[in-house]
């Protein structure tokens, strides 16, 4: 499918300037907000005008762009709500000034394609540039886009990323829609809550991908996207997925689960765990990253780290051991109950 050669992540955890996943950073006011680095390489004048998602999306991409040995043949971003903070700022102006003469900055920065566009602009990249916005499968479609492009040209390099921010927009709207906890809780108690809703998260995870295995950090061996509210179908699709992509004797070592503390979606995660039938360590990541549409991008970054370190922080473990031979990680993620994905990530030999 494709090989990951470089990866970065700006998240609510220590994942960027230094990587210290054992030091769990906890939620504040039911939100897991990113730790923003000092953005080197973005001129202050430009930085000031950027909305949050664009800022940390570009910030996560820059090290990869600067460090890329070969030219980047495309920039593919998945985001459901990127830029929405600026969108609401502009919208509020429309209402408050009764459609009077407004300044366009917020409007131009608020379109979801602004992240990919800004990365293209800053790196003077005229190649393929696109933004997938299919909510809980936005990142997976971005990854699939790269898979298809690499099938046609194995030697090409693509920057693929998933970015979303906690903005007044999605926090308030999703809160009213019941997607976030009504009660005040700490992220470390997320999975024991037994109530509906999760904790809002945000982040940007970027990947430099290519069709060649030499010097790669990890391999994305298979990817599956699914829309359903039938957990039996999810389990059946997972079984088929594993039959198709695991050779005889191979097994999943870690199930990296998108379980998010929302009691309503637990049955999907249970169904997938049952398919694996205690054969794999089950680890969870949303107490670290929070719940948002492109959280699976952060999960993929985590998978790369786990494969490299051959261990995972104790606070992630639901079941099983924190260190043993980790060759194969299956990411199962579910967004708002209906959108599901399986990503099979393999260690380089």
């Amino acid at each position: 499918m494709l090989y990951i050669h470089q990866t970065t992540c700006i998240s609510p955890q220590l994942s960027f300037s230094t990587i210290q996943l054992d030091q769990l950073q906890e939620s504040v006011n039911n939100r897991l907000q990113v730790i923003e680095p000092a953005y080197e390489g973005i001129p202050n004048g430009i930085l000031r005008r950027m909305g949050k998602a664009i800022r940390f999306g570009v910030g996560a991409a820059l090290p990869i762009i600067r460090g890329a040995v070969a030219s980047i043949d495309g920039i593919i971003i998945g985001t459901a709500n990127g830029g929405m903070e600026d969108c609401i700022k502009f919208l509020n102006q429309i209402i408050d000034y009764e459609e009077g003469m407004l300044t366009p900055t917020n409007f131009v920065q608020s379109t979801t394609n602004a992240i990919a566009a800004q990365i293209g602009l800053l790196s003077a990249n005229k190649a393929y540039n696109t933004t997938h916005v299919h909510r809980g499968l936005a990142f997976e479609n971005a990854l699939l886009d790269a898979v298809m492009l690499l099938k046609e040209n194995t030697d090409a390099h693509y920057l693929v990323g998933g970015v979303d921010e906690i903005s007044m927009y999605n926090y308030n709207i999703d809160y009213l829609d019941g997607w976030f906890k009504k009660e005040s809780i700490d992220s470390k108690d997320l999975y024991q809550s037994g109530t509906t809703g999760s904790l809002a998260g945000e982040g940007a995870a970027m990947f430099l991908v290519n069709g060649n295995s030499e010097n790669a950090k990890a391999k994305v061996a298979a990817l599956h996207l699914l829309h359903t509210e039938d957990e039996q179908l999810v389990a059946k699709q997972l079984t088929l997925f594993l039959e198709k992509h695991l050779r005889s004797g191979e097994k999943i070592d870690v199930l990296l689960s998108g379980e998010d503390g929302d009691s309503r979606s637990l049955h999907y995660y249970n169904a997938c765990e049952n398919v694996l039938d205690k054969q794999a360590t089950v680890a969870r990541f949303k107490h670290m990253m929070g719940e948002y549409a492109t959280a699976s991008a952060a999960a993929l970054w985590l998978a790369c780290i786990i494969l490299k370190e051959q261990s995972l922080p104790g606070h992630m473990i639901k079941y099983g051991s924190s260190s043993s031979n980790v060759n194969r990680i299956l990411i199962y993620n579910n967004h708002k109950g209906r959108q599901h994905s399986f990503i099979l990530v393999e260690k380089m030999k």
């Binding site: 409007f107 566009a117 293209g120 190649a127 393929y128 933004t131 898979v147 709207i173 829309h227």
Partner: protein
């Protein structure tokens, strides 16, 4: 194919209007905005209630954007005679596009984004994905479903994504397209950039003063050659390319690098040379920037610039729907071997002296190119070719 715009609520109606040089741009009759009396728009004169009745779509939370998409999608699916089995099959994909999504509901969004209680029925309908998630559920689409937003080139990218899903074996057929409805958000945004024309737009004219916003939806059903078996084929998608102008967030470079590269790239994919293009459905928004940049790019690429026209003078700039509806128009050019008048043109741009098609003409056409260039420098070009079926 399926299409609904300010000049018709079906592909046939749209074609008739194009042949008759009908302009769908004028004063607003339904949409409420401070600019209603100041600016012309390509409004579809059908109310949401009428759409809901016609489409039997009474679920709560359906935005106008979703209703328009459903209208065009329904027409396309019927036209392609897709069976229920085919729709539900795991190898049927759906890729849509929108830039506005449910943000057409400015007041509801303002309330839901800012107030702490009494959320509206539209809480899950604001993002662009909500449109395609509704279509996925309504038709029981079980293959890959996606939504793309690359500003004005969104649905062109949606078409090329669906085509590549088929090409790489991830789908047997793909329903592809895009939609956008009028919204205070885009009206005020474009107005703040000073690119809305107070008159009907005049693409490629020296005196052009900007664009008119319009609303529309269009969907096409793409299938592999081997799978088509006996059904009528309108055209073949032979070329496509996506590039980035990488110059500025909301305007194109003077040399039109992005447009030049996307047109050139589409030719390469189609395996044809510039001289093989019979006609171009230009992006032609009527803004000072686009029309000059696009013209410059055409002059760079083509030794002899082919016949070209902009249908945005008929429909307005339909943003997320533009790529798809103009793809439909390009296919109509090919199927009927005709080109339509580029409306409101009087004098060519001084710097380029290029003139678009000025009257409806029947003529032999083999390959038609369709361009879509958007904010963020996102450029896309598609090439449709006549088939002999």
């Amino acid at each position: 194919m399926g299409a609904i715009s300010a000049i018709g609520s079906s592909v046939t109606e749209n074609r008739m209007a194009l042949m008759q040089e009908k302009c769908g741009i004028g004063p607003l009759e339904m949409f409420v905005t401070k600019y209603a009396s100041l600016l012309p728009f390509g409004e579809i004169k059908i109310t949401n209630n009428l759409l809901r009745e016609k489409l039997r779509a009474h679920e709560p939370g359906l935005t106008r954007t979703t209703l328009l998409a459903l209208h065009a999608c329904e027409e396309a699916i019927k036209d392609a005679a897709l069976t229920a089995t085919q729709l539900n099959s795991f190898d049927t994909a759906l890729t849509g596009a929108s830039t506005v999504g449910g943000m057409c509901l400015t007041d509801e969004l303002y309330h839901d984004a800012n107030k702490k209680e009494n959320g509206s029925a539209y809480l899950s309908s604001y993002d662009c994905a909500s449109v395609n998630l509704y279509l996925q559920q309504r038709y029981g689409i079980n293959g890959i479903v996606n939504t793309i937003n690359t500003a004005c080139s969104s649905s062109a990218n949606s078409i090329l994504y669906g085509a590549r899903l088929i090409k790489s074996g991830l789908a047997e057929r793909a329903i592809v397209g895009g939609v956008d409805s009028l919204a205070k958000f885009t009206i005020n945004g474009f107005n703040a950039l000073h690119i809305l024309s107070p008159d009907k737009c005049t693409p490629f004219d020296e005196q052009r003063r900007g664009l008119n916003l319009g609303e529309a939806a269009a969907f096409l059903v793409l299938e592999k050659e081997e799978a088509v078996a006996g059904k009528k084929i309108y055209a073949e998608l032979t070329g496509y390319c996506n590039t980035n102008d990488a110059y500025h967030a909301s305007s194109l470079s003077e040399e039109g690098d992005g447009p030049y590269l996307s047109m050139k790239g589409a030719l390469a994919v189609a395996g044809i040379s510039p001289a093989d293009i019979s006609f171009i459905n230009a992006h032609g928004t009527g803004t000072e920037n686009n029309d000059l940049a696009e013209s410059t790019a055409m002059l760079r690429l083509f030794e002899k610039v082919p016949l070209f026209a902009s249908t945005k003078a008929n429909t307005g700039h339909t943003l997320g729907a533009a790529g798809a509806i103009e793809a439909v128009y390009s296919i109509l050019n090919l199927v009927n071997q005709e080109v339509y008048t580029s409306l409101n043109f009087k004098q060519p741009i001084e710097a380029t002296r290029l003139q678009p098609v000025q009257s409806y003409t029947k003529m032999p056409l083999q390959h038609v190119m369709s361009n879509s260039f958007g904010f963020g420098g996102n450029c896309a070009s598609l090439i449709f070719s006549k088939t002999d079926y």
